[in-house]
C-alpha cells in the first residue's frame, strides 16, 4: 500500500478535483422570454408516483396536452417513488417535469426546481387561482418552485352493513366513540385470533401515520423552526389514546391480523373486502372502491376528533401533489406549458379530479359542474374547505419529519414507556436532522 499510494494518489486527487469543479451543480434560474412561444416542439420527460389505474388517468390527461401541442411528445415515467425522483433529479437524470408529494418531498426537491414566478407573471397565473392550504404551501423557502395539482384529504370510511349489524347508524365523531365501536365490531376466531376488525389502530397500517392520526387532535409539530411535540398536550393525549386502543384489542393479535391482510392498493384491501369495518383513508379510496368493490355499502365522514383537544370536527389531515419543473431542463418552455396545463386548465383539472377522485386545487375546477361528485366523494370536498383541515410542516428533511415520529410511535404502541421522554427524543432527532441539512 505504502508503495502505491504516492504514485496513484496524485492523479486520483486531480480527478476528484476535476470532477467536483466541473460538477453538475445546479445553477441559477435563467431569464424568461417576454412572451410565451407560439409553437412548442420536442420531447419532455414527466416523472410521477402514480401506478396502474391512476397512472392511466395521468396518461389520458397528458394525451389531451399532446393534442393541444402536436409538436410535443411527453415521455411519462410512472410509478416512481418521490425519493427515487429526487435521486434522479439530483444526479442529473433526464427530468423536465416532476409530480411529487408536497409534505414529504417539496422541502428537499424545491432547490432543484426552477422558479415559476416569472412564468406565472408572464402568463397571468396567480396563486389566488388555487384554493386551500396548498395555494401557498407549494412555495418553499419563499421560492415558487411548484404548483398544486390536486390535494388529498383523509377521513373515515365505514362499512354500513357491518355497523348496522352491530346496531350503529352513524359514524363516530370522537376518538372515544371510535374506540368503543371498534371493540364492539371486532370478532374473533375460535383460536382467539381476529376474524374481522372494527378499526386497525396500528401506526404503519394503511394510511395510519403520525401525520394523519395526530391531525385528529390538532397536535402541532413545530414552533418556528424547532420541533416542539413534547410541549404539546395533544401529542401526549393522541399517543395515549392510540396505545390504549391497541392494548384493548391486543398488540400481538393486531399484528398477526395485519400481517395477513391483502395489499392496500389491490382488490384485497381489507376495508373493501369487509375484514375491517372502519378505516382512516384518503379521498382516492372512493375511486378504488368504485373499481374494485362496486357493491360495497359504505359511507364516508370526517375523521373523529379527540374530545377536548380543541380540534374541530369536520376537517381532517390534508396533503397535496405538486408539480414543478427541473432547473436543468433543456425544454423549460415546454415543461412550463405542461405544468400550466396540469394545474390551471379547468378541463384537465376536472378530469384529474374525476379520475383520481382527488380534491381539485384549482378553484374553477372545484366549482365546475362537470365534477362528478357522489355523496362519499362530496364529503371530502367539504372537509377540505373546513377550517379544521390541517397538515404537517414542510421542511428540508421532507419525509424524515413524519418518519421520526412514526419510528417512536411504532415502538410506543408495542411497549409503552415514558411518553414525555420519547417525545423529547423525537424533537431532538428532528431538530438535529434539520440542523444537519441546514449546515453551512
Amino acid at each position: 500500500m505504502r508503495a502505491t499510494k504516492p504514485a496513484t494518489a496524485i492523479p486520483a486527487v486531480a480527478l476528484v478535483a476535476a470532477l467536483i469543479l466541473t460538477g453538475c451543480g445546479i445553477g441559477a434560474d435563467e431569464p424568461v422570454a417576454r412572451t410565451a412561444p407560439r409553437e412548442l416542439t420536442g420531447t419532455i420527460q414527466l416523472w410521477h408516483h402514480y401506478t396502474d389505474r391512476e397512472a392511466a388517468v395521468i396518461q389520458s390527461v397528458v394525451r389531451d396536452f399532446e393534442r393541444l401541442h402536436p409538436g410535443l411528445h411527453v415521455n411519462v415515467h410512472s410509478g416512481q417513488q418521490d425519493t427515487k425522483i429526487t435521486q434522479v433529479v439530483s444526479s442529473g437524470g433526464d427530468v423536465d417535469v416532476m409530480l411529487t408529494n408536497v409534505n414529504s418531498t417539496l422541502g428537499t426537491l424545491c432547490k432543484t426546481m426552477a422558479d415559476l414566478a416569472p412564468y406565472m407573471a408572464r402568463d397571468h397565473v396567480r396563486a389566488a387561482d388555487f384554493q386551500g392550504t396548498f395555494a401557498s404551501a407549494t412555495a418553499f423557502d419563499d421560492r415558487r418552485c411548484s404548483l398544486p395539482t390536486t390535494s388529498d384529504v383523509y377521513g373515515l370510511y365505514y362499512n354500513k352493513r357491518l355497523l348496522g349489524r352491530a346496531g350503529y347508524h352513524d359514524p363516530p365523531k370522537t376518538l372515544d366513540e371510535l374506540g368503543r365501536m371498534a371493540l364492539k365490531l371486532t370478532t374473533y376466531n375460535p383460536d382467539g385470533s381476529i376474524r374481522t376488525l372494527g378499526f386497525d389502530p396500528l401506526i404503519g397500517f394503511g394510511q395510519n401515520t403520525s401525520g394523519t392520526v395526530s391531525a385528529t387532535s390538532g397536535a402541532r409539530w413545530m414552533r418556528g423552526t424547532e420541533a416542539t411535540t413534547a410541549a404539546s398536550r395533544q401529542w401526549h393525549e393522541i399517543l395515549a389514546w392510540q396505545r390504549d386502543l391497541v392494548k384493548k384489542i391486543g398488540y400481538r393479535k393486531l399484528k398477526a391480523f395485519t400481517a395477513g391482510l391483502g395489499d392496500e392498493w389491490s382488490a384485497n384491501n381489507p376495508f373493501q373486502t369487509g375484514r375491517i369495518a372502519m378505516a382512516l383513508d384518503g379521498e382516492w379510496r372512493v375511486a378504488f372502491v368504485d373499481e374494485q368493490a362496486p357493491h360495497l355499502d359504505y359511507g364516508t365522514a370526517p375523521f373523529p376528533v379527540l374530545a377536548g383537544s380543541g380540534q374541530p370536527y369536520g376537517g381532517g389531515y390534508v396533503s397535496a401533489a405538486d408539480i414543478g419543473m427541473s432547473k436543468q431542463s433543456g425544454h423549460k418552455e415546454a415543461a412550463w406549458a405542461l405544468v400550466k396545463f396540469l394545474t390551471t386548465n379547468t378541463g384537465a383539472a376536472v378530469k384529474l379530479a374525476n379520475g383520481l377522485k382527488n380534491i381539485p386545487t384549482l378553484r374553477r375546477a372545484a366549482d365546475s359542474p362537470e365534477l362528478e361528485a357522489g355523496p362519499q366523494y362530496r364529503m371530502f370536498i367539504e372537509a377540505s374547505k373546513h377550517p379544521g383541515a390541517n397538515t404537517s410542516p414542510i421542511t428540508e428533511i421532507g419525509a424524515t419529519l413524519v418518519a421520526t415520529m412514526n419510528d417512536f410511535w411504532t415502538t410506543y404502541q408495542e411497549n409503552g414507556g415514558n411518553l414525555d421522554e420519547g417525545l423529547r427524543a423525537v424533537d431532538t432527532d428532528i431538530n438535529n436532522a434539520l440542523s444537519l441539512r441546514r449546515q453551512k
Binding site: L15, G23, H49, Q87, G92, K111, W265, T411
Partner: protein, 328 residues
Amino acid sequence: MTSTRSLPRPSVAKPRPAMRTRSLLASRLPVWSMMILGLIGLAVFFLYPLLANLYFSFTNYDLAGAPHWTGLRNYVYLFTQDSRVGKAALNTLWFVVILVPVRMVFSLGIGLLLSRRKTARGFWRTVFYLPALVPPVASVVGFVFLFNPGTGPINAVLRHLGITGPLWFNDPALSKPSLLLLGLWMAGDVMVIFLAALLDVPKDQYEACELDGANGWQRLRFVTLPNIRPVLLFSAVTGVIAALQYFTEAAVASMIANGKTGIDAGTDQLLGYPDDSLLTYTQWMYVQGFNSFQLGYASTMAVVLFLIAAAVMAVLLRRAGLFTKAQG
C-alpha cells in the same frame, strides 16, 4: 528457440542506459499491457473513491450543488446526534457476532456428518449446498411468505399441532432470528469449503489419536480443528466482512413483511421494519445517501465502516501469511 536468444538480455549485454530503458520497455510492454485494465480499475474504482469519499465526509453534499466544506459536522452528527445510526450499528453487530459463528458451527456440524459418510456423499452435499445458490431475493421472498404469521404455511402447520405460531418477521424480537434461520438454510457455501478441508485431514492422525484412546471431542479438538484452522479463519473473516455489509436479505424482508408497497411511502419508511429491528448500518447509509441525498453524511458513515472493515482485514492479513506476498 532462436527468437528467445534474439531478445536482448540487459543483464548480459550491459547496454548503455538509454538502450537499456528502451529494451526494458520492449520486454515489459506485454506484461504491463496485461495489467493495464486492472490497474486502471484499481485507480478509478478503488483508490479514487476511497480518497474522494474521505473528502466528501467533511462536506455537506447533495449532488445538486457542489460539496460544501463543513469540517467535522458530519462526524459530530454521527457520534452524538443520529439516534438511528446506533440502532443500525447494533443490528449489524448482531449479524456479525451471532449470524457468522452460528453459521460456521452449523456448517462444520454438517460437514463433519458428511465427511464420515462413505456413500451418497455427493447427494447430501447437493441437498445442503443448493439453497446457497438460490438468489437471495428469491429466498427472502419465499421465507417471508412461509413465515407469514397470519397466512403462512409454517404457522398453519403449527396451528394443526395446537401451537400459536410467533410473528416471525413481523416481531422485532424475532425478525433477526428469522433471518438467522434463512442464513443457516443458505450456509451451503461455507459447508462445502469445510467439507473439502475435513476430507483433507490426514487419516493417520485420527488413527494415532484413536490409539491414544481419545474420545470424539478430543479428536475434534486436537486433530480436526488444528488441521482446518486456515479455512476456519478464512471463512470467519469473509463472514464478518459479509455481515458488515448485510443489506439485501434484511431490506427485502422488511419490505415484504411490511406489506406496504412503497408507492406512497419511500423506501426509507419500509427499511428496518419491524421497528428498525432489521435496519442495518449499510441500509441506513443507503437511506442517508440515496433517499435523503445527504451524500456527505453517507460518506462519513462509509469512512467509519472502512475503518472497521480495515481492522477486520488486518487480522486476516496478519494471521494468514498466505495473502501478504504476491510472489517469492
